[in-house]
Structures are given as structure tokens and as C-alpha cells.
Symmetry: C2
Subunit: 243 residues, 2 copies
């Protein structure tokens, strides 16, 4: 039976190796009116895949990264293809002290939180943190030899003291800029979600995040592509009662 899977990726440079390898077809006809996103489709074995990237900001010619476009991408992907799984693939920061290394590919584990939304009013605080559910990735991780970790999302590439404190409170090992927004959409739309994050930089290392990120983007994107295909293969060849 065919499975529909949506893949949401913020940066074109992260997505290009996957687009090439799985021979995705660019589908401008699927883009919702007014939005800058890029839609791609392919058939991979028994899987109908829809991939969405964020497109470029017309003023600054950079990808539309961070949570606001990510949430819209996720909703539009779900509306277009009603997937049984949404995978958010991307690059991310890792915590060296918790064992993360450059080039590692992590799967989401337990929950995805925000670390930049501080709303100190009862109820709103918990809402701000998010803690959205993800699928149990233990079997995939064991089969492919991948690490797993709690992911924390913020709209900045760098971290202020408050961000760091919340990342620690969440028990997160991976820090990205989109996953929690996508997880909120998946949670509200009842679509199972998995995040796959390839480490470009170590947030507890002295070198500036931006320099590490640019130095390691190609390596991390290549690893991300290889492991994403391996995950799709695993899902194709194994029963997954969560989807």
C-alpha cells in the first residue's frame, strides 16, 4: 500500500542532495497563492513523497528560515497531501557535553520544545514551552545506528542566557530553528511527526555558531540526505503502527 509522507526542510542547501538523489520533481503548480515556498514530489518505492522548502526572501536572497515560515510550510504540506507522517529534516546545533558531534544525525525523542517563548503567566508558560509529541523513533535509531535526543527550537541562530537555561531545563541535546513550530502544526492537525537533525555546530563550544554552521553545512547536509533515505527505506520495509 502506498504511504504519503511530507518532508519539510527550511534551507534549499539542506534539501538539494535529497532532491537530486530521489529525483524529486519541482512542482510550482502546488504552491499556495502568495507564498514563497518550493514544492517537490516524487514516488520512492511504495512512498508518495511531498517535499517543501521555504524559498528565498526577495529582499535579502536568503532562505525563509525560522518558525513562522516553517509553520506555514507544514500546514500547507499537510493540506496538500494529508500525509501519514511528516518528517522535518534539517541541520541543527548540538550539545557537546551531552555527546553530540559535528555531522551526527539525531532523531527526535519524546518531545519538541521551544526555548525562546517565555510567557510567565500560568498556563501560558506551558503553552509557550510547547512539549509537542513525536513518534517513537527507537526502532529506527537502533536499526540505523542513529542517536536520539530531545529537540529545542528558537528563532535565533545564537543563544541568550534565557535560551540556554530553557534548553537545559528541557533536557535537550539538539537545538534548531524550526522543529517546534512544525510540531505544533502536526499536533493540532493530528499528523505523526519525526524530526531528523544533522549537527553543524556545537553550542557549548567556544567558536561562534555562525562560523561553525557555515563550515559544516555541506557535510551535515550530505549526512542528512543519506540518513533520510535510510529512514525512508526502513519505513518501507518495516511495519510502523504509529503511522
Amino acid at each position: 500500500m502506498t504511504t504519503k509522507i511530507a518532508i519539510v526542510m527550511a534551507m534549499q542547501a539542506e534539501a538539494d542532495p535529497l532532491i537530486e538523489n530521489l529525483r524529486f520533481c519541482h512542482r510550482p503548480d502546488l504552491v499556495p497563492p502568495g507564498l514563497p515556498f518550493r514544492f517537490y514530489t516524487t514516488v520512492y518505492g511504495q512512498q508518495d513523497l511531498l517535499l517543501v522548502t521555504s524559498g528565498k526572501d526577495p529582499r535579502f536572497q536568503v532562505d525563509n528560515v525560522a518558525t513562522v515560515p516553517a509553520a506555514l510550510m507544514a500546514y500547507q504540506a499537510i493540506e496538500r497531501c494529508a500525509p501519514s507522517l511528516l518528517i522535518n529534516c534539517g541541520t541543527a546545533g548540538g550539545i557537546k557535553a551531552a555527546g553530540a558531534m559535528i555531522g551526527d544525525v539525531y532523531l527526535s525523542k519524546d518531545k519538541i520544545c521551544f526555548h525562546h517563548r517565555r510567557i510567565p503567566i500560568p498556563g501560558f508558560w506551558e503553552y509557550g514551552v510547547g512539549s509537542y509529541p513525536v513518534i517513537d523513533s527507537a526502532a529506527i535509531a537502533a536499526a540505523l545506528g542513529l542517536k536520539r535526543g530531545i529537540i529545542s527550537t528558537g528563532d535565533s541562530l545564537d543563544l541568550c542566557g534565557e535560551d540556554l537555561s530553557l534548553i537545559e531545563q528541557h533536557g535537550a541535546i539538539v537545538k534548531d530553528m524550526e522543529a517546534a513550530a512544525i510540531a505544533w502544526v502536526c499536533y493540532t492537525c493530528k499528523v505523526p511527526m519525526l524530526a531528523v537533525k544533522s549537527i553543524t555546530d556545537l553550542i557549548d563550544k567556544a567558536a561562534p555558531t555562525a562560523d561553525q554552521f557555515l563550515d559544516n553545512l555541506a557535510l551535515a547536509s550530505s549526512n542528512l540526505q543519506r540518513q533520510t533515505v535510510a529512514i525512508l527505506d526502513f519505513l518501507q520495509n518495516n511495519e510502523c503502527d504509529q503511522l
Copy 2:
């Protein structure tokens, strides 16, 4: 000629006085699949109005505030009614040193920025800040005796040092939690935008923002409602070549 106007508001308590006064009709039939938002419509003179509020988080029973739901609300409102103007009404913090007082109603002026998105890579930095355009509100402000100011948006109710520094750099007088995300959607969809923000708290005052916010929410929502109706009346009775 009838004008279509979309009004986007994060909190139900902010919207209820307006819903009651303009006899908005609750329209669950307009809500896109899976989303928690509440849609309302009414006809006010020559204006077809669509109002969207963010709905409640099912786990914590609080409004879906902040930028991620706001962007989705704005896009769905635009998709549903193709408005010639989108108005984002809400409560906000003000800067006392710049002349803001509790209960003041501000109109957006010049640009709307983010203060919580720090991406220190050339091009991405400017993208993160946003600086989205808004309509020229000078005539409305003069006619109604309203103040105008640059608005800066962040996903937290409180402010870290980095947030404060960026608010100052933007020259902002008003600090809210949604406007820039909505402004991004309006910018990308080419829909003119106006923000109307009623001040609940002064961010440069010693009292905690959360306490001020809760103390002044009813007053600010009442002022917001009165001035939003006055703005709609003004738009009805005056040519506005920006729309």
C-alpha cells in the same frame, strides 16, 4: 463599493468587545481543517469584515498567542476573503520613556520588526529583523487623535537583554507578540497591513509585565474596541488610495 477587511486578533478577551459591538457571527464553517482558530464575519456599512481569533490550546486552555499561530491565522484570513486591508488589533507593551501610557491606542508607523530573531550571518540578519511595510496611518491618526509608533515583535511576554537592545535599535515604541509575523504574511501576499495596539503594560517600568498585563487587559481591550470601530468608520468615510 464594498471593501473586504480582515481583522486578526490573538486573544479572545481582546476580540470579544468588538465581536459584540459589531454583531459578528461565529463561523465554524470557515475554519480550515485541523486548525484551532475561530472565524467570525459581519457586514459593517460598506465593509465585509472577517475576524479571526487564535482559539484555545486544548491542553492548557489558553489562547494560541505569539507568532506561529498568528502567521497561520493571517494566511488563512487572506486565503478566505482576499482582503484589501488586514488589520492586526491587539494589546501590547509600550515604552514609557517614549511617551506611551497604559490604555493608549497606537497605530503602526513605518515598519514592523522582530526583536527575538538574531541570525548573525549577512542577509539572514536583515531577514531576521524583518522591517515589514505598513500602510501610512498619518491621516487616520490625525483624524482620531491616536499615537503612532514603530512596533517590534517577540515571542516572549518578558524581555531579555538582547530583546531590549534590538527594540531600541528599531526605534520601537510598541512591543507585541504577533504583528511582525502577520506583517511577513501580508508582505509576501501583497496585502496592505495596519496594526492597532492598545497598551496594557510599560516595559520600562519596574512592575512585572505579566502583572501589569493582567491588571490592564480589560481597559486596553475596551479602548481597542472603541478605536477599531472608529478606524473602520474613518476608512468608510474617506478615500484611502493605499488599499
